[in-house]
């Protein structure tokens, strides 16, 4: 039998092929961060400080939408459609299959971060990331945390029809309080406390360090990193508990 690594590679390739096959979905997936960048770039054009907030904010939002949102949807869909159950009956190890799904999402996150970095340089004069290490560390930990939390959220979604409402009711408020579109400094204290305890604000904090000049090296973002790491641990526990290979009954 093929090794787990070879199987994972094949599974991953298949997921990528299927992702690109659904052209409209793939297109809008990558258009969305560009639309946001263009819109907010136009709104705050020329205001250096605000651009420095928007670009990492949209990078953070991209991480969340490609991993958390996408996996919550996909896992619910695959579960309710009975695809998970079918795969479970084959000799493909379950872990390999789920890693394939996760790597697919991670690839989209990486592509979107790339798009944001390039757009930041080309259109907003942001320059190449001054702290690439900070950027990479936060991207990796952030992607892991949000992917796990997305998988965990799928367990709480009873049917595919209810997925958009449930996912958006988490995604939109988190985006709003976490300073994607404005500096969290302008937010009332209690909301800021909430935002800083959630994973997205710390992620944007770290991405800011990576993407924007003068926000300190990795060492000055360790609290943020710890918060995201904690969420990743919570994500592991919740993603594993309550995982179901079968559609929810009635």
């Amino acid at each position: 039998m093929r090794s787990a690594g070879a199987l994972l590679w094949r599974e991953y390739r298949f997921e990528r092929r299927m992702f690109w096959r659904n052209r409209s979905a793939a297109f809008f997936n990558f258009l969305l961060p560009l639309i946001f960048l263009a819109l907010f770039g136009a709104i705050v054009a020329g205001h250096r400080n605000e651009l420095d907030v928007i670009v990492p904010g949209i990078a953070g939002m991209s991480v969340m939408s490609t991993t958390f949102t996408a996996l919550a949807y996909n896992l619910t869909f695959l579960r309710e459609q009975g695809v998970l159950k079918r795969i479970r009956g084959t000799p493909l190890p379950s872990g390999v299959y789920l890693c394939g799904l996760a790597l697919n999402a991670v690839t989209n996150a990486a592509i979107q971060i790339g798009i944001v970095v390039v757009a930041g340089r080309v259109f907003f004069g942001l320059g190449w990331p001054p702290q690439p290490l900070t950027l990479i560390v936060f991207a990796v930990v952030g992607v892991a945390a949000f992917a796990l939390l997305g998988a965990a959220l799928s367990h709480a979604i009873p049917s595919f029809e209810s997925a958009p409402a449930i996912v958006n009711s988490v995604f939109v408020p988190v985006i709003l309080v976490s300073g994607v579109f404005f500096d969290v400094k302008h937010v009332p204290g209690f909301l800021r406390d909430i935002a800083q305890a959630l994973p997205l604000e710390p992620l944007i904090n770290g991405l800011t360090g990576g993407l924007v000049q003068g926000h300190g090296a990795l060492g000055s973002h360790l609290t943020a990193l710890a918060v995201i790491g904690l969420w990743a641990v919570v994500g592991v526990v919740l993603a594993v508990r309550g995982f179901s290979w079968e559609a929810r009954r009635g």
Binding site: M1, R21, Q81, V83, K85, R86, T90, P93
Partner: protein, 293 residues
Amino acid sequence: MPGVEAAIEVRDLRKSYPASRGAGGAIDAVRGIDFSVARGEIFGLLGPNGAGKTTTVEILEGYRQRTAGAVSVLGFDPSERPRELRARVGIVLQSSGIYAHATVAELLAHFADFYPRPRKIDQVIELAGLAEKRDQQARHLSGGQRRRLDLALALIGDPELIFLDEPTTGFDPAARRGAWQTIRSLRELGKTVLLTTHYLDEAQELADRVAIIKGGRILAEGSPAELGVGAGSRYRVAYANGNGELTIVETDDPTRLLNELTSAALARGEQLNALSVTRPSLEDVYLELTSDA
């Protein structure tokens, strides 16, 4: 595969589902059933909706945990879901989904990678009757064609044992005959098949042995012929007598009865109109056993 052990052994299998919100108390879906399926045999579980067919089959496939009893599938305990067992069985679930944007050939090629010794893709496509749909995406297949894709995906790993949970539900009559032909060809390849069905003709056509299941219990078991004419079932002779009244006589010895009837008629110079001799079909047995009366 050498060895004399049965492909499937089921002893006093029980399954109850816990009480769920809004659905009353616990459900005893399977209440102590026994059967075994020999290697190379096609075994049919025949029963109405809610009889416990899917529950039984999914315990054998490793999807559900039994409440009590002993089961063995190719010598393994399916509840432990050993990978070797999954490589040696093929499963057609009662309903399951697939990647809608992948073509038939792509899906088979992908699934073939999961197995140690897969069959040739085009062979399986041919066997499942999907040759014309080879390069169609799954979302463009009709319901019946999707079902054939399910069968093809179950056969791609060249399994020894194949579970088919209502394999022909939703097929048109021609497609059903086609699927029956495919299943018969599995027998010729020496495969073991456990199939569930509501359809008597399907059980009668395909199965070497049938268990009629209802309310989680097996009510009768045997070859379709045995079940039809087994103990207690008698020949039925019907004819119109001299006054044109239809008369029905049941007998264990139709030869003698016919001889008596025809001799008497000849002696009286009468005709025996509308004469027929029938045995109860599996259908009669099935309806009688599963009726609520």
